[in-house]
């Protein structure tokens, strides 16, 4: 039997198969889907970037949004910290001022 990583929500179904004496093997498509799902979940959690997704074969951001939608997830919003935190703070302040000007005019 081939060893495979089992995600929690799959475990019940797979256990049923094993108990019935079936042997389960992932088809190539399932492996690809599982890999893509893992990448999308990591992306939504802020663990991998859109650049990484592109390197891993997502060449279209619509496919990313579609995948997130299918998993009930949304695109990540990066916390205002880290390497570019100061430049982003400055950007938000500039935007705030521009919006205030628009609202008051």
């Amino acid at each position: 039997m081939r060893a495979c990583r089992v995600r929690p929500f799959q475990s019940i179904r797979l256990t049923e198969y094993y108990l019935r004496g079936h042997v389960t093997m992932d088809t190539p498509n399932q492996v690809v889907d599982q890999r893509r799902e893992k990448l999308l979940r990591d992306y939504a959690a802020g663990k991998v970037s859109w650049s990484t997704l592109r390197r891993q074969g997502f060449d279209d951001y619509v496919a990313v949004l579609g995948g997130l939608g299918a998993l009930g997830l949304r695109p990540p919003v990066a916390p205002l910290e880290g390497v570019n935190g100061a430049a982003r703070e400055r950007g938000r302040a500039l935007l705030r001022r521009a919006l205030a000007r628009q609202v008051s005019s």
Binding site: Y43, G46, V48, S49, W50, S51, R54, D59, D60, Y61, V62, A63, V64, L65, G66, G67, L68, G69, A70, L73, R74, P75, P76, V77, A78, P79, L80, G82, V83, N84, A87, R88, R90, G91, R92, A93, L94, L95, R96, A98, L99, A100, R101, Q102, V103
Partner: protein
């Protein structure tokens, strides 16, 4: 509108997210000129679902939104014709636009719009006159100003619509595959 201050889009993802959420006008709310480098616009937007909406939106706001021609864009076109990779050229084109913008006006300031996950992981070395903003930051500020319902609502809408678009694409791909298979079977029958 302040001509010495520009919002420069460095990647297609903010445009696609807002287009699918039906919220492209959010980009115009600060009243800043919006510059989209040709290499950002050229390939991925045209290929993507929601492209029609983006092009229509650009054409409807030519006074505020402009596609900026770049040398990187010319190189990208050549690469596309020769079937060579074009990855990351959008960002290079954005930097070219930024350089030209800052050189042209010593008092100019610019806001570079990035996708959230990319900016969180990479250090961007920039001029003091340049600030960064992500799609999420942008929406959060609009939300704080009471100009949009909520950031999460827009991001959820983009993901939901993306899901529907993907389903339609897959259905289209399945239909094409079925058609090819039917033709092959028919040809085989005809040969008998």
């Amino acid at each position: 509108m302040n001509p010495g201050f520009s919002l420069i889009v460095t990647d297609t993802s903010p445009l696609i997210t807002l287009a699918l959420a039906g919220s492209l006008d959010a980009l115009l709310r600060p009243g800043l000129p919006v510059s989209i480098p040709d290499a950002v616009e050229a390939t991925r937007i045209r290929a993507a679902a929601g492209a029609g909406e983006i092009v229509e939106w650009m054409n409807a706001h030519l006074d505020q939104v402009r596609i900026v021609p770049t040398e990187v864009g010319i190189d990208q076109q050549r690469r596309l014709e020769e079937g060579r990779p074009t990855r990351a050229l959008g960002e290079q084109a954005a930097l070219e636009v930024l350089d030209r913008f800052l050189e042209g006006d010593p008092a100019a300031t610019a806001l570079l719009l990035f996708e959230d996950s990319d900016i969180a992981r990479r250090q961007v070395i920039i001029d003091e006159r340049v600030s960064l903003i992500t799609t999420g930051d942008f929406l959060r500020e609009l939300e704080a100003a009471g100009l949009i319902q909520s950031t999460d609502y827009i991001l959820d809408r983009a993901a939901e619509r993306g899901r529907n678009v993907e389903r339609q694409r897959q259905a289209g791909a399945d239909a094409t595959t079925r058609l090819r298979l039917r033709r092959q079977l028919q040809e085989r029958e005809d040969r008998k």
